[in-house]
């Protein structure tokens, strides 16, 4: 099935069976490997992308369901998002494999809640597993980015 998906502001042609999860279309067809596979059943958050600004698990979204929605992946943040800067500043990543998903969930959180408290942070981030246990730095980095004045105006 040939279709077009809007990823990071570009209309990209894809040719995949309609039931193919968006995750595999991004990774195998479009070569955007920043979005990771971790469980395939919406349990770990490694595959998190934004669909019209909402954090969604791309492993559970058939490409046919994306329609005209705007998809944002970690590649779309270009490494300059205040959250990414906070991640580097606090050396959040360990193995790093979960971090694209963590950051995308955090981007969606800050877009809705510019100054989240601890409860709001853990509520928004509980769907993202980090087996390395970088959780406390993830919380700290979100707070750090939220304190930065540009956080709320960053493009998502």
């Amino acid at each position: 099935m040939a279709t077009t998906v809007d990823v990071n502001g570009r209309a990209l042609k894809v040719n995949a069976a309609p039931d193919t999860p968006l995750l595999w279309v991004l990774r195998d067809e479009l070569g955007m490997t920043g979005t990771k596979y971790g469980c395939g059943i919406a349990q770990c958050g490694a595959c998190t992308v934004l669909i019209d600004g909402q954090a969604m698990r791309s492993c559970q979204m058939p490409v046919s369901a994306v329609g005209a929605a705007k998809v944002t992946t970690i590649e779309g943040l270009a490494g300059t998002h205040p959250l990414q800067e906070a991640w580097v500043k606090l050396d959040v990543p360990q193995c790093g494999y979960c971090q694209s998903g963590q950051i995308m969930s955090a981007v969606a959180l800050l877009a809705q809640n510019a100054k989240p408290d601890d409860a709001a942070i853990t509520a928004a981030m509980d769907g993202n597993i980090c087996r390395c246990g970088a959780y406390q730095r993830i919380r700290a980095a979100i707070k750090d980015a939220a304190a930065a004045p540009v956080a709320t105006s960053a493009k998502v």
Partner: protein, 727 residues
């Protein structure tokens, strides 16, 4: 000195040599092990040795013989070189070494190249200090020659070589001249008191940016021309083999290219991951289960318990083996009023964030692997056996890996071998990426062994242990090692063996029985300490409670008897920082635990409360003695991560089997710690001038008993099996 690599110490020199020469044949008999293992390799190091490259643009590249899969070792290794070299830290980058046992092997791993036992920093300390100091001397000599001044008058600081005359240069312009100089054999090393980088917060990860923008390359992300993706249908029971299969439906899936029978199952090879999965799921396989393990884990545990109690007699061969004995054993068995308890630990999956995977090219030139290789030498040996080449000729490019926790260091190179078998069938050197789904990964075995302990302790008039009888029943991780199954597998007893509490007890009778099941087992972050630390530390709190003594004071008294000075130091530091002397904040109860593993001693005080019938852990104060601290921030990161990993297992971790089939498959059934459950860990590092010791693993085993001890203080009840929260 402790044993930083105890978990890998059993293969004998001879067994490894034999292992390496099976493929190479008589040709290699008699060479040294590293020579045998690297025979066939074409790799040559540069002018500054195998660990360092200097470029004309001033870039300093530190070559790491160890994989980075989260531990932060690349930061530490780079800092050691940069310190002695007086490099500009911002110009230092890290590169992964190729597979070459001769250049990158570790003596305490019998010359093999690999990462394990929390030993990367420890085994590189002297090596990398020398590498940095030698290159510094070469740069100084080059500058002296170029400027016509005495070498002794030249200074190096922060990447600048200078002379009082005003002449100065970065490293770059001096590199060509320096490369012509013979490296000094015994360069002068710095006095640690003058370290400007090592031990400071300037030592930070080099990979945070690429791991925050999606560009860090993992095996999962490898794309090569003509590459195919493979998935394998594995047997549902360990030990089963393929009887027959029907691939008609699989072959109809668009994108499926081929189906191959391999030793571990049936592989579907396809143009994309999704096609491979659809194809694999469409296979119909009939399994030969004649040799399969069909017991449930509950039956296995009962068998272990019966062995421990003597209800089932121990086998005559490979029966009980004593690992600590002192005084009259009969006394240790008897004694009235003893504390008589038993502990059970389930199988655990590593559940790394990135499921196992590998890329292999076989059939054109030397076999080539691209993946996160934790033990390149083992992976070379196992690949060589399948591809019938010399081990050293197998090329391995090691990438970042999304965690390992022990899973990728495997005597059989299980998933690597699987990928090589498929790539061999595909042939022509065409790249094949083997992808395991989460379910494949979780059901493939190589779990932390299921373990049963029984403990019987009598006490003296003051409430301190007088006699200690200890029995451990466990599978052997070393089974399948090149050396075979040792009777006293250290990886099953370390932590009970060598415990200061046993040292402080007059009569000790501690024994191990290796039991077998068909379930493959493996080291799992902190290995034996995953259960021994729990048993020792939780038992001690139960004894302190019976004696009516404070757990910190009780431990201190025993450490004093045992002469365990480092234990006392971390215990006191953690107790002080946690405010042990004053009450915990309202609603919280404290628990303490201390354990030594991989050369480091860790003490933790955890604040715990019960929430919805399960423990919730808040603040965890950690004190660690890990010798010289290279990167305080990464030591803290490992304490944070190690604590989460250990707490996750203690709270929820359990792999169970029903009729031989693993019950769990994904994170919905194998629950792991999530953000809202993750404690806030505070790390305090004991100042030390000793050589650095492990930090990747020692933070894992202490939290379980610390939490159990808090629950004991809160409820008066011990917690004698893990996980705390039953499914």
């Amino acid at each position: 000195m402790n044993k930083p690599l105890d978990s890998l110490s059993a293969p004998t020199r001879r067994s490894l040599l034999v292992g390496a020469t099976v493929v190479g044949g008589a040709l290699l008999v008699g060479c040294s092990i590293p020579d045998a293992l690297s025979a066939g390799s074409k790799f040559k190091p540069g002018a500054f040795g195998p660990f360092l490259k200097l470029a004309a643009d001033g870039t300093v590249t530190v070559v790491s013989k160890h994989i980075e899969f989260g531990q932060g070792n690349h930061a530490g290794l780079a800092a050691i070189v940069a310190e002695e070299l007086d490099a500009d830290w911002s110009k230092v980058v890290v590169e992964q070494a190729p597979a070459n046992a001769k250049l990158y092997g570790t003596p305490m791993m019998f010359g093999m190249q690999g990462t394990g036992g929390s030993s990367a920093i420890n085994s590189s300390w002297t090596l990398l200090r020398n590498a940095g100091a030698a290159a510094r001397a070469m740069l100084v000599e080059a500058a002296a020659k170029t400027w016509g001044v005495p070498a002794a008058e030249i200074m190096v600081s922060n990447g600048i070589v200078s002379h009082a005359s005003g002449k100065q240069s970065g490293f770059g312009p001096l590199v060509a001249e320096a490369a012509k100089i013979t490296p000094p054999q015994a360069p002068k090393l710095k006095d640690p008191k003058t370290f400007a980088l090592v031990g400071t917060d300037l030592v930070r990860r080099k990979d945070s940016a690429v791991k925050s923008n999606g560009t860090a390359l993992y095996t999962q992300d490898v794309v090569l021309p003509e590459m195919l993706t493979a998935m394998v249908a594995h047997a549902p029971r360990f030990g089963a083999t393929v009887k027959s299969f029907d691939d008609a439906a699989a072959r109809k899936v668009p994108g499926v290219v081929a189906v191959h029978k391999i030793p571990t199952g049936v592989a579907v090879v396809a143009q994309s991951t999704w096609a491979a999965k659809q194809g694999r799921d469409a296979l119909k396989v009939e399994w030969d289960e004649t040799k399969a393990e069909k017991r449930s884990s509950a039956q296995m545990l009962t068998a272990f318990k019966n062995l421990a109690s003597g209800k089932t007699p121990a086998p005559e061969k490979n029966g009980w083996a004593a690992f600590e004995s002192k005084g009259d054993a009969a006394k240790a068995a008897a004694g009235s009023g003893a504390l008589d308890i038993a502990y059970d630990f389930p199988y655990l999956a590593h559940a790394t964030m990135e499921p196992m995977n590998c890329v292999a090219m076989v059939g054109k030139g030397p076999p080539r692997l691209v993946f996160g290789s934790q033990f390149p030498t083992l992976d070379q040996i196992n690949t060589a056996k399948i591809a019938t080449v010399l081990p050293g000729s197998v090329e391995i490019e090691t990438l970042f890996a999304g965690g390992s926790f022990g899973r990728r260091a495997n005597f059989a190179s299980d998933y690597v071998s699987e990928c090589v078998h498929i790539a061999k069938k595909v042939g022509g050197g065409r790249p094949v990426k083997l992808v395991w789904t989460r379910e494949d990964d979780m059901r493939a075995g190589y779990f932390r062994p299921m373990v049963h302990h029984t403990v019987r302790v009598t006490t003296d008039a003051e409430g301190y242990p007088a006699t200690w009888r200890h029995r451990i029943v466990s599978q052997s991780i070393m089974k399948g090692s090149p050396a075979g199954t040792p009777k006293l597998d250290d990886s099953a007893i370390e932590g009970t063996k060598g415990s200061p509490y046993l040292k402080a007890t007059p009569v000790v009778d501690a024994q191990l029985l290796i039991a077998d099941t068909g379930v493959p087992v493996l080291w799992w972050r902190s290995v034996g300490a995953t259960h021994t630390a729990y048993v020792m530390e939780h038992t001690i709190d139960q004894l302190a409670k019976r004696a009516g003594k404070d757990p910190v004071a009780y431990r201190r008294a025993l450490y004093q008897k045992a002469g365990a000075k480092r234990h006392i130091a971390v215990l006191d530091l953690a107790a002080e920082k946690a405010g042990w002397a004053s009450p915990a904040q309202a609603g919280w109860t404290r628990g303490v635990a201390v354990h030594e593993s991989f050369g480091s001693v860790v003490a933790q005080v955890a604040e715990v409360k019960m929430e919805n019938g399960q423990p919730k852990v808040g603040r965890v104060v950690t004190a660690i003695d890990c010798g010289t601290a290279i990167s305080p921030d990464q030591i803290a990161a490992q304490m944070e991560g190690g604590t989460c990993y250990g707490l996750s297992a203690a709270m929820y971790g359990a792999i169970t089997l029903t009729d031989g089939v693993v019950d769990q498959g994904n994170f919905d059934t194998y629950r792991v710690l999530r953000n809202s459950e993750a404690p806030t860990v505070e790390t305090h590092i004991l100042p030390s001038t000793n050589p650095p010791t492990g930090v990747g693993e020692p933070g894992t085993p202490v939290i379980g008993p610390a939490v159990a001890n808090a629950i004991l203080a809160l409820t008066g009840k011990p917690t004698l099996s893990q996980p705390f929260v039953k499914a």
